[in-house]
């Protein structure tokens, strides 16, 4: 039962390591380094990277920005709750607000156009989970995150909330339409 006993040599650290282990450690280390460098490489050459741009913001201020945008660019309303749908101009700042239990407002975007999407929650943590593309971003109250997004396919998209946010978490949905 030797793994339960003190090492056979007092100077166990001086015992040479078998060739097999050395080879495996070398292979594993190379793989670890490849995995590590994939990440900065993707920052340089890949198209999906979480940006670091973020601002501290109060709920009232953020709400004001959202309202201002809705006033300017609202095109219609949806559902019995009359949720506004906003069609912002190309490249515009788009403010999306998460609150219990709604994504507000709805958006109408254009394919292959880049927008500055702002995300913030005015109450608890929420999870921006865009389906069916499956893009998932944490939304933390008090922090306004800015993502440059470029929809690459037209269609109707749903924002699911995938951070638990209380009893109606599962009912928290939003919509984004992408037009050709």
């Amino acid at each position: 039962m030797t793994s339960l006993l003190p090492p056979a040599q007092k100077n166990w650290w001086a015992v040479p390591v078998g060739r097999q282990e050395i080879i495996w450690i070398a292979i594993a280390l190379v793989w670890c380094l490849i995995m590590f460098f994939m990440m900065p490489l993707w920052h340089m050459y890949g198209n999906q990277n979480i940006p670091t741009e973020a601002y501290k913001v109060t709920p009232a201020k953020y709400q004001a920005k959202v309202n201002e945008m809705i006033e300017k660019y609202k095109v219609r309303e949806e559902t019995a709750m009359k949720i506004p749908v906003v069609a912002p101009p190309d490249g515009a700042d788009v403010y999306l607000l998460a609150r219990l239990w709604q994504w507000y407002p709805m958006l109408e975007l254009k394919k292959d156009v880049t927008y500055r999407l702002h995300l913030n929650s005015i109450d608890w943590n929420h999870g921006f989970s865009l389906q069916p593309v499956n893009i998932n971003i944490q939304v933390v109250p008090g922090y306004e995150m800015v993502l440059n997004i470029t929809p690459n396919k037209a269609g109707e998209y749903t924002i699911v909330c995938n951070e638990y946010c209380g009893i109606m978490h599962h009912a928290m949905l939003g919509k984004i339409w992408v037009k050709e």
Partner: protein, 578 residues
């Protein structure tokens, strides 16, 4: 005067006070697993779309309780038993300050009961992560703090025991590898509990109104310094259990003490970086910070696990070959004692942890790939592979080992015990794999209704997602049956198992000391060093002593590489984000 008994079957020495503490902690752990398992059944039947068992409010309550009970209480109670075993029994030393250890145990019990009472009170369905500003009742946090302090006391008792053993010269040379691993787990635990205190104490004060505001982003950062590091405790401890079981069953010795110990040290050096995994899609964190931290400084902790992944089965292979099982690459493995639940649990734990849990964990912890996985049900899929197939199954194997040795009872239902690891592993692998698959289709975790019934906005996941969740549900039921079987065998053996020693009565099974007659006042002989001759022989000319293991390791690597790049491919297809 410290009293000891020697197990006539294994030769292990048990210090009377330590023995009772091990029993009490292990039994408390199994009780928590039992509760966690019952809750798991309710959770998994609710997430099975065709059954959708619980209403929403109970689902979120039960899910909170399942996470807390299984992940925190079961794991940590059992880890306390392992620490006392590795410190006292393996070193043939008396346990330092048993009274403190009991105080710690009592605090853990009180804390656990308090937190569960808060959850089942219905106003603390905040999930185990309890992200502020969502608020639980104050005693939810207070219970966790008390539990953690109790565990901290246990850690210090363990360290004290190491000092006692050293001073009283109970062993020759350096501590055994298993004890070394347990020490690593203990050190990580102390760091973890400190982080936990740093975040949970202020949160408690906030919940009773003494502090007005806790920054939600800061909370996530520090909470995960605890939450992820505690998984590192589990890994360090279950790797120690792998080495332990390999040693007991095969007489395996580490292929290289130096390599295994160095790998353990990597866990300590890089553990505190882990919290980043959970924050990869959070606002405002710098890229450099995320890259360095999520990869534990260039994946050096992953490297450590890959090393153990070779050296543990490698040690078994070397020991088996020495017994003459030298045909081909895999005779040693084919002829392993697959009918012995101690071994089968341990080996499934090793393979499942590596192939399912390890690979998926590294992939999803890649900074950008997190975008397509964060908070989907892929995440529970991953960690049921690590913490259930990996850690829980290692603990189960150890329990089977300890029933006769520590509790002095013969195991009941030996035929069922043979099957149990396979049933449990089958069910939990299905949960892990099919949750992961459903996650790639975007199904959310911690979510009561993937159908969004009655919602005016409406959304349908693809039909495949429903199918996958259904299969995961079937797997979950099989897993619960396997888990129940384990609890029945473990607890049943303590109550009804044939006594291997007349003193081992019913109460004795649950922490009451054996009668004095079982012990002597004689100090155990000093723990000798491992026999030296064994060492020279193995490093044969080629130094390639475990070829079968090497092949397995290469299979792991190839699967890893393929799966890793498949995920980059998926990522490249989603909307541009910059």
């Amino acid at each position: 005067m410290a009293q000891f008994r020697q197990c006539p079957d294994t030769g292990l020495f048990f210090h009377k006070e330590a023995e009772n503490l091990m029993k009490a902690n292990a039994v408390a752990g199994v009780v928590c697993l039992l509760i966690g398992g019952i809750l798991a059944l309710l959770v998994v039947l609710t997430r099975w779309p065709a059954i959708h068992l619980l209403p929403a409010d109970s689902f979120y309550m039960v899910l909170t309780a399942h996470g807390v009970c299984a992940l925190i209480f079961w794991m940590i109670f059992f880890e306390m038993a392992i620490l006392y075993f590795a410190g006292s029994t393996l070193l043939r030393s008396r346990l330092a300050t048993p009274r403190w250890a009991w105080a710690g145990f009592v605090m853990m019990v009180i804390g656990a009961v308090m937190t569960l009472a808060a959850i089942f009170g219905g106003k603390s369905s905040v999930m185990m992560t309890s992200y502020v500003p969502m608020r639980a009742e104050p005693h939810f946090y207070l219970g966790l703090v008390i539990f953690a302090v109790g565990a901290l006391i246990g850690c210090f008792v363990y360290l004290g025991t190491l000092v006692v053993a050293k001073n009283e010269k109970t062993y020759e040379g350096s501590v055994p590898l298993v004890t070394f691993g347990a020490t690593v787990a203990c050190i990580i635990a102390i760091f973890t509990i400190a982080s936990g205190a740093e975040i949970l104490i202020p949160t408690y004060l906030w919940s009773i109104g003494y502090i007005s505001h806790i920054d939600p982003a800061m909370y996530r950062l520090i909470w995960w310094a605890m939450g992820h590091s505690s998984q590192q405790i589990n890994v360090a401890a279950h790797v120690a259990v792998w080495y332990l079981i390999a040693g007991v069953i095969f007489g395996a010795r580490p292929m290289s003490e130096k390599v295994s110990r160095a790998a353990y040290l990597l866990y300590i050096f890089f553990l505190q970086l882990a919290s980043a995994h959970h924050l990869l899609t959070d606002p405002g964190l710098s890229v450099e910070w995320k890259l360095f931290n999520t990869s534990y400084a260039m994946y050096l902790a992953v490297l450590a696990s890959m090393i153990h992944g070779l050296t543990v089965p490698g040690a078994i292979e070397v020991a088996q070959r020495k017994k003459g099982l030298t045909n081909g690459a895999f005779e040693w493995l084919r002829k392993a004692p697959w009918g012995n639940p101690v071994f089968s649990s341990m080996f499934i734990s090793l393979v499942g942890f590596g192939f399912l849990g390890g690979i998926s964990g590294v992939v999803m912890g890649t900074e950008q790939i997190s975008i397509i996985i964060h908070n989907t049900i892929y995440v529970p899929g991953h960690f049921h592979a690590t913490v259930v197939i990996g850690t829980t199954m290692a603990w189960m194997g150890l329990t089977y080992l300890l029933i006769p040795v520590l509790f002095r009872r013969k195991m009941i239902f030996p035929q069922a015990a043979k099957m149990q690891p396979y049933i449990f592993a089958l069910g939990m692998s299905m949960v892990a794999v099919f949750h992961m698959a459903a996650g790639t289709l975007g199904v959310a975790r911690r979510h009561w209704d993937m159908g969004f019934a009655g919602n005016p906005l409406g959304f349908e996941y693809p039909a495949t997602a429903y199918l996958l969740m259904g299969i995961a549900g079937v797997g979950g039921v099989i897993g619960v049956i396997g888990g129940a079987l384990f609890c029945i065998i473990a607890v049943g053996s303590l109550v009804f198992g044939e006594k291997l020693q007349k003193e081992a009565g019913l109460l004795q099974s649950f922490g009451v000391p054996l009668a004095d007659s079982a012990y002597t006042n004689e100090k155990p002989a000093r723990l000798p060093m491992a026999p030296a001759e064994a060492v020279e022989a193995d490093h044969g000319e080629s130094g390639f002593e475990a070829p079968g293991t090497f092949i397995l390791a290469m299979v792991l690597l190839v699967s890893f590489v393929i799966y890793y790049f498949i995920n980059w491919k998926y990522l490249s297809e989603v909307w541009g984000i910059s």
